[in-house]
Each structure stands twice: as C-alpha cells, then as structure tokens.
Symmetry: D2
C-alpha cells in the first residue's frame, strides 16, 4: 500500500499518518520526492486501513499494491484450475460447450434440444428454471418442474446440467437436480447467495455483473472460495455501455485478461451479451480464438416461439454449423473439443 | 408496439408477421412507407410478443410504445405519491433528510450521531447492520446487534429507522426493528428480495443499480408494487461510468426525469455516489435544487476511525453546516424542511 | 512514480529496471514488501519513462504520483483564476450566465433573444455560427453571416459574444467577431485546434468531451496554456453513459471535483447535457448549488421552430423564471449574479 | 418516422402535430391505440423535422424508422465494398494486415520493422508522423520527416503506407506521401477534417471514436462519402467503459454488427484498444474469427525503448507467431491472407 501525501502536506500530518499506520502493526517506508512525499506501507495490509486513512488530513490518495483478492488470483495458484466432473473437464485443454434453451419450456422442447446438442458436441445442458427478468411481466420460469426435466434430460443424454439459482433458500433444491449452480449477472454481488452456493459443495458458474470490473468479479469469486468451494467457473457475458445495437458489449479482452491474473476457467456467453442471433456465431468463434475455456450458447428449435430471449437463440442447424468451426479454431489455439 | 420491417421484407414476410400478431389476439395497423413498412400493433401488448417476434424473418426491430411498467408510472397515478409514517411525510412538500453512519459500529457511536442529526433537522436515521461489501475481507456489519441499537436510538430520539436488508430470509427480522427497509444498489435486480420486501408491509427504499437505467429502476419498483406494496422511495446513488475521480457518477438529472415519468418520491445519496466527503455538501445542495424529495447522508463523528466508508462521511459539524444551506435552498424550490 | 514489480520478479529484473531508471537521470528508492517489491522513482519524471517501462520484464504496473498536467492544476496556481473581460468577471464571486440560441438563424431571432436575455441578467450571448453535427444532413450553421449578426447583437445590447470555432483555419476570423472562442466537446482532443486557439490571444471556453475524464479535460486545457493563453473556462456538458433518457449524463459532481484540483472557472451547460427542456431549469439550479461559476443555456422564442436542438431550449419566459431562482441560489452559496 | 403522443394528448394537440407535418410536405398516418396515439410520417423525412417537433405540446417522443445515414448503409449498397489499391484489396476475400510502429522514430527503426512485417505477410505499413496525444508533454511525432521515411519504406518494401492526418491544412501534404489517410478516434467527429479527407481523393481509414456508437461512426463515414469519396475503411479500436484493466474495451461484436448494416470494410486495432501487448495476439485472432476484414497492429523491435505506446507493441517475433495463427483462422472463416 502506498499513501500519497498532497503537495502541501505538513511534517506533522506526515508524522500523524505514519503513527496511524504503526498503530495497525504495519511498518512504513517514506519516500521524500521532489514535490510529494509518499509512504510505503509494509505488512499484511488490512482493507480497513485503506478505507479509513484516505480521509486523514494531508492524504491525497491511497494506492493498493496487492490485489484485493487472495485465492482467486494466480499468485495464490499459478497453474490453471481444472474442474473435473463426471468426465467433463473445464479449464483444461478441452473446450467445453454449454448449450440449451434460455428457459425450460416443456419436456418435448428440452429433450429435442438436449439430444441434438449432445450429438453436436456439447458437454453440458443449460436451461433456466428460475429466470430473473427485468420486468415482472416477463416469463419467470417453470421452477422445480423445469429442474426435474433437466435431470431427466441428463439421465437420457448424459449431458451435465447447469441452471441458475436465484434464491439462497433454493440452493439445496437446485443442487439436487443440477451439476453446476449458476449465479446470474444480476446476482454477482448478491453476497448472501454467493455464500450459500459457496457452502453447497457444488461447482459454481459465476457470471460477470454488467457493471463489474474484472477485479469485482474475482472478489465475488472470493466470496465463494472462502466458504471452501474452489470449483468456480467465471463467465463473461457482456458489460453495460452506451452502445445500444447490442444488448450488452461483450468484453472479449476480459478473457485473456482474467486468465492472466486468475487461475479460474472462463467461459463466454455470446447469446446474452449480444441479444441478436446473427452475432452469436461470430462471437462464439472469436471467444474461442481469444482463449476462452468454453462457451454458453442458447439454442432453440423455433426461436420465434421461444418464451424467453428468442431473438438471441441459434437454431439447431445454426448450432451445428457453429460447432464445426469451433472445433477447427480450438485446434489452432492448442485446444480440443 | 411498432414492428419495423426491413427494407427488403417480402409481402409474405409481412403477412406472416401480421398473422402472428393476430394469433395473440391483437390488432394490426400497417403503414406502407416510401422505403419501409411498419406495423402498428394495437391492444394490451404482452411482453412476450415483443420478445419472440423480433427474430422473425423480415423484422428489423420492434419498438415498444407503452412504458413497460404500469403502476410505477405517472400515467397510472398522476399525482405525487406521499408516504406518511409516524408524522414523517416523504414525497410531499417536506424535504426529508436521512442521516447516520455507514455502518452501526456500537452504541456510543450511534447514539452520539443520532442525537446530533436529530437536533440538526434529520427525520430518519440510517445505519448499516448487514453490509454488502465488494470484498469479503471488508467489515460486514454487526447484524442483529446493530438492529437493536437502531431501535434503541429511535426510542430515544424519535428518529425513524431505515436499514438495509440483504437476505430474503431476514426481511421479517429487519422489519421488526426498522421502519423502512432499504434494498441496496447491488440488489436492485435481486427479484427474490424485491418480492419479499413487497410482501413485508413495510415501506421500501430502492436504490438504483449502478448500471440500471431509469426504466430498469421503475421495473424493479414494479416488482415490489405487484406484491401490494406501494410505499416505495427511489434513491439515486450514482451510476457506473468511466470517470474514476468519483466512485460513481451521481446522475442528478435522473431526479427531475424520474419525477416526470413516475409518481414515486426520489431521494439522493451523495455519499456513496461520490465517495469523497469534500463533494458531499455541494451535491446535497444540488440534489435539493434539482427537485429531490430528500437526502441520504453519511455522518460520522470521526471519519478517520470509521469501520466503513470513512472518506465519504461528513463530520457532525459539517452536517450542521450543510443542513443550514439545505433549508434555504428548499425554500427557493418551494419545499420546506 | 512508483514501479510495481510482479510477485515473481527476479532480482535481475529488479536491477534491470533500476538501471533503466538511472539511465534517465532519475533516482530510485526501492521498497521490499512482504509479497512485492515497489520502486519509488524520484526526479522530474518524464512521461516517456512511464510509457516505455511498463512493458519491461517483471514490471506489473507503473503508477504515476504527480498529476500529468502542470499549469491547469491548483498546485501550480492555488487561487481561483478570474477572467476579466470588458467588465464581466468569470471565476470570481459573480455567477455568469451565457444564453442564446443553439444556432444563429437570422437577425430577428438573434436580436429578440439577445435583448431579452440581457434584460433578465445574462452577461454573454451564445449562438452557433459553425455547428458540428453528428449527421451531415443536419443544419450546419450560417457561418460568417452568423458571426456578423452576433457582433451586431453585442453592439446593441452590450452582451459579450461566445461562439464555437471548429476549424483551425477559422480561428482568426471567428476571433474578429467573438469575445470568447468555444471549443466544442467533440473537438476537446482536436489538439491542432487547441494549439491554434491557444495562440489566438482570445479567452477560450473548452467543453468536456463526452468520454473524457476530468484529467483528460485538464490536459486539453494544458494544450491551450502552453501556447501562453491562460484565459480558459471549462464547461461540463454531460458525459456518455448507458442512460438514454437524457442525451448525455450531466456530471455535476465534476464541478466541485474540478474546482478542487484546478484553478480554472467551470460553467455548466444543462441544455446539451440533458437534451430536454423540462430538465434544464432543475439542472441550472443544481449546477449553481454545486458551485459552478456560470451557466450556458439555450433559449429560443419558439423552440418548435428552431433549426437546431429546439427540444432542449428554454422559452424566453422560462429563462426569466429560471434566472429568478438562480439569483436566490447564488446568494445561498455565497455568490451573486 | 413515428411520432408518439403522450397519454393525455388532446385532439387539438394531435391535430396541431399533424398540421405541422403536412407543412413539411410529408404525409401522416395516425394510429389510435388503446392508450396512446402514434402518428406515422410518410415521405423523405428531413432530419430537422425530427429535431424540431419533439418539443411540441403533447409529443412524448419521436422515433426515426429510417437509418440516418444513406450511403454508408447496406440498403444503399447491398454488396460489400472492396477497395483496390496497387494490388491490395480491402474488404474482399483477403484479410489485410497493417503493421508498424506507433510512431516513426527514425530510418533504422522503420526500415527494420517494414522489412520484417512485409516478410511475415503484412500488406500495409503504419507509422505515426503526427501523433495526437492526450498530454502535450508526450512525444508528438516527427512530422514531415516521418512522412518521407514512410515513403522510403514503401519504395523499398512495396508495402502501402497508411498514416494519420490531424490537421485539415496537412491533408495535401500527407496525401503526397501516404496511400491511405487515417482519421484518428479523437477526430472521428472533427467534421472539418472529415470533409477535407473526403475531398482528397485518397482512401480513408476512419477510427471509431471512444464514445461513438456504430451509428455515429457510419454518420462520420457519411461526411466523407458526400464529398465523393467512397473508399472508406472503418476501424474498431475500443470504446470507453468503466473497465480499467484495458485502456479501452474492444467491442468485437461491432465487427459483425457493422458488416450487417454497412457495406464498408472493417479492420480492428487491438493494440490501442487493449494497451497491453499480452492481450494483442488473442484479440487479433478473435478479430479475424469475428469476421474482420483486417488488422492494424503495432510492432516494435524493442518495445521497452519505444517513444510511444511501447507496452502495447508486439515484438517482431511475436508478430510472426501471430501471423501464423491468423492465416489458419482466416481459412476457417472463409478468408485468406
């Protein structure tokens, strides 16, 4: 931690800051520059120090040097984390594809999609049972009925199941049916939910919040990890910007950026990010080319009839075509599918 | 709802879209322009229609005409909503000031602040019992112990109490101690929590999410209203932008904008928005000048020692000075305090 | 400047960075922390150092300590700058109001507005002669004819004239007619134009670019200052965000923020920021309450007929009503008009 | 154009709006909905109509239906535009790679890079002669001397030359040396410069402004086209967002989005977008996978010594490695290099 004193800071103010640091059991190392004094703080910095001291007289700013997360960072775990689950490996050499409808609408719809995406090379089935929707008047999901259908689809196809949990009281219930619990973008900083999925023992996929930095995302992962759950998959799904052609702006440079600072696997969801099916394939290809460990893609046999987010779904044929190209690109970047 | 067909849309595509609209029991009104055809849709539009049809062949875009919220809008309720609570009126001619520490740290701290802000003209006491923090290593609040202290402070000072609820399982508990339940910015789209506070019977203060539009905020309010709870106070507390001098960018034009489209009261929280105490007073004055129905301000007797967000807290003297100016400005804009 | 070495940086890498710094004639001051080494750099840091060294092996990041601007900052000039111009003082105790049409449309329009705003208390007349428009199909201004009309209006009313210059080749021409040269938001980083107005000898109003930070704005001012022109007025006119209700998001906390770090006067333009006339008065009041040194407001006798930005113009009566309140608020914050 | 009347709009207000539209020589087509009236406007809508009428009493909003650009859109030119220049085709089946230093620093540096990137498959040489820099204290380029070196490098290697022009007075000069004129991101809405390069007869590369939407970019292209110059290459180079790990956020979904609405070629500049060399290769691969027509990449033999933007430059070896992968990915998406 570096404390930057303002240009006019008095010796007394500097001394007072140094004394305060010492009172926390930390050591100081002042540097008297030409125009400013900065004070290096040495020791295992407590966050609270940063927070409370920046208002002291003469302090211009406080600059943290260490990353605010501990276990989610590569410094704590230099090698890539690989999550192994019933023969599916996430974060290793293999690229995983998660596919399925936005929302589970019924048995026929789900089974049809599940069989087809399995055949095309997907390893996991997605499908919303509880849908967090901006409007209370939008379709909110079939709830437990959907969970049962997902489990049935797994039984038949062998696809693992991932579905979103939105309520801390439902974590156990969802965990009975799903292999991986998804925390949605809007809940990325729902710390109560993060703690609950952290205690669940299930792998967790954590979607990046629409106004969350990479650091915020890793701090959210940290909430899960400190409950003892290290099986976390991060998901880039677009951030909020001024551009309105797409629903969100897919931040693909976050993929190599996150992999640089963290050991956790990163998948990309181009369906929610773009909101437009004609952008999904190009962004799937780009995601794998950028180094993503996997994709999450919405697929619907008849997008015009979908109860949720039809415009962003690939058709079953569109999914097949995309998968062929994905396999070729994975090979070029040293991955396989 | 207006369906815009793309320039090259065929007659067959146009007919197919019209048929689809009719299948929903809605009427159509096509306009054949010089270069494009648009189809007006008449009837009580179902959201799902908008969602599912935008992917149909030949459809370029779908433009909603009606606001997506019903009860939160001024069309449903032309007059300002006023929330009356033990003699405090929010949304009326009176400007309300909510003041207190970021987090409740102990009896002495809380009582000292409560007595003082009461004396200076505050009507409500704020104080975090459950603190949602970006980092799991930051102070998370004292929980129920803090709730008891808040209730004690109300007992002594007569200030009403507002505090944040972060867990749907805690809504009842918090409601036993607090007068108004606060839903924090990070939980603005935690729909499970919105539903729960909607059913609680308590007035709710809903903070705008950092990447939420005004429309998103009103849709979040709608989640509370449809549970039968119309006592909602909206709070502008800054949005996420590229500017990093302030923690968030306080969007003060949202105040008259929200009041133009909605009947709900709007308060402003300059402390969280700016994150810097030297910006708090100017932004408090500006908020009242812009037409806000109230303020939420963090106050701490000794900001350097605060366990949470010290740098953004006003001192007790600073709060007094701010209140004097607020009273004068309220008068100019036809309000009182 | 602080150079942060990554956790795994070798002694050799550290030495190599230190040697590089010394080769620039700067001194180093390393701090060996528990997990990381940081190197304080002492001396008059050259920007190029920061830029070139951050890619060296073992370097995690480089953190500048000094502000990147010199003359625009308060450290170089602790007192507020006051620009005096024919009896009008900008940046002093007086609040200045700049009013007029978006674009000069003709003699009758301009004279009518000029007489009226003069009577209501404005000190400067605005009016676009050269309009930078997003679309080439929008009205682009009357050019020199408009400049002549502005000069004529000054002659008659005594109002000083401010108008935008968009072309470095036109700086002399515009300077023959106008008292203050305006550099528009889209040209804030048109460094060729900044240099030219810097050399012109005329006071300059510099509007903040829609994606420019406060620091970027002050660096743009620095381009003008280093040409020897210190008469600069900064203008907050909204930044680009995701909120689409308003055209831009007026960043009013930038007003006290800029005044904290810089000595230059700051005016606010709520017309362009909001794009909606019903938001203009509240934001004018809020701007003065936040500490702005002045306002720039669009006024039109008949907004429905305006050739440019009618929806954001105040009517003449609306301007009068606003001015009455502005005077009262100025008084509360220790200013006058 | 659709004019949406507010819920309470009176018949008189509706009539008055209709009359106003007729006065512009346009036809109207009102739709009386359940809760609102909307008025379709038919004819070749003048921009000014949209602008002036949205403030009329009873008008809630005005929604344009036609794209605001004419010649830059695919409706005007359904096939992809291909720019042919001395054997280099941009926008066709071939993917073009533009490589070179951020700034021309001297003969040896430039020639060394030019020979090497030519050998690795680049078709165009980039190199800044006039550098628009945020700070006036950063290196501003060698000016005409740099232009001469670029021309010399073309002579020797056969690479075409692209370089930025920042001053309308320099367009002729730069055009004497360069094959393609680049308009930088900060100048994307410098309409004076756009007009000048439009008249130059040289192909133009137009970089997207950091807060410009896709529509804004196409309107900027329109400024060039209406001067008779249709040889325009668009360049995505990152937009301004809240994420600070990267310098800008590369908006790769803009590539297929632009190609959907426009016929103009799109290249991607990952160097400026990310600002970090370790992100450049992944983003180059992703750009080609997303359908970009080319890349613009900064290369430097010794990034630590670069006078400008060293941290984002690839080394010569890094460039070679990237090119090998690019060729393989181009093949998968049906392109070649």
């Amino acid at each position: 931690m570096i404390i930057v004193m303002s240009t006019g800071a008095t010796e007394k103010q500097i001394k007072s800051v140094i004394d305060k640091v010492h009172s926390y059991g930390l050591r100081t190392h002042p540097i008297y520059g030409v125009r400013k004094t900065v004070i290096g703080v040495i020791g295992d910095n407590k966050t609270v120090v940063v927070e409370s001291m920046s208002g002291m007289p003469g302090v211009e700013s406080i600059i943290p040097i260490l990353q605010p997360y501990k276990f989610a960072g590569r410094e704590a775990h230099p090698d890539d984390s690989v999550i192994e689950l019933d023969g599916v490996r996430i974060g290793g050499r293999e690229v995983v594809v998660i596919a399925g409808p936005c929302a589970v609408e019924g048995r026929e719809q789900l089974m049809g999609i599940a069989r087809r995406v399995k055949k095309s090379g997907a390893s996991l089935l997605r499908g919303g049972a509880y849908k967090p929707r901006t409007s209370p008047y939008s379709f909110q999901g079939l709830g437990e009925e959907a969970l049962k259908l997902l489990a049935e689809a797994r039984e038949e196809t062998g696809l693992l199941v991932i579905t979103e949990v939105t309520d801390p009281r439902n974590v156990d219930l969802v965990g009975q049916y799903a292999d991986i619990l998804q925390v949605g973008a809007r809940n990325m900083q729902n710390f109560v939910l993060l703690t609950e999925v952290g205690m669940s023992g299930h792998p967790v996929m954590l979607k990046r919040g629409p106004s969350s930095t990479i650091t915020d995302l890793l701090l959210a992962a940290e909430y899960v990890i400190i409950e003892g759950n290290r099986d976390i998959i991060l998901c880039e799904r677009g951030i909020t910007t001024f551009e309105s052609y797409t629903r969100n702006t897919l931040d693909l440079s976050a993929v190599p950026a996150i992999k640089h600072v963290s050991h956790l696997p990163v998948v990309v969801d181009p369906s929610h990010a773009t909101g437009k099916s004609h952008l999904v394939e190009p962004m799937c290809l780009a995601a794998i080319a950028s180094g993503a460990d996997g994709l999450m893609v919405e697929v619907h046999p008849d997008p015009d009839q979908a109860l949720c987010d039809g415009p962003q779904a690939l058709t079953l044929d569109g999914f097949d075509r995309m998968m062929d190209k994905i396999k070729a690109i994975a090979d070029i970047v040293g991955r396989e599918i």
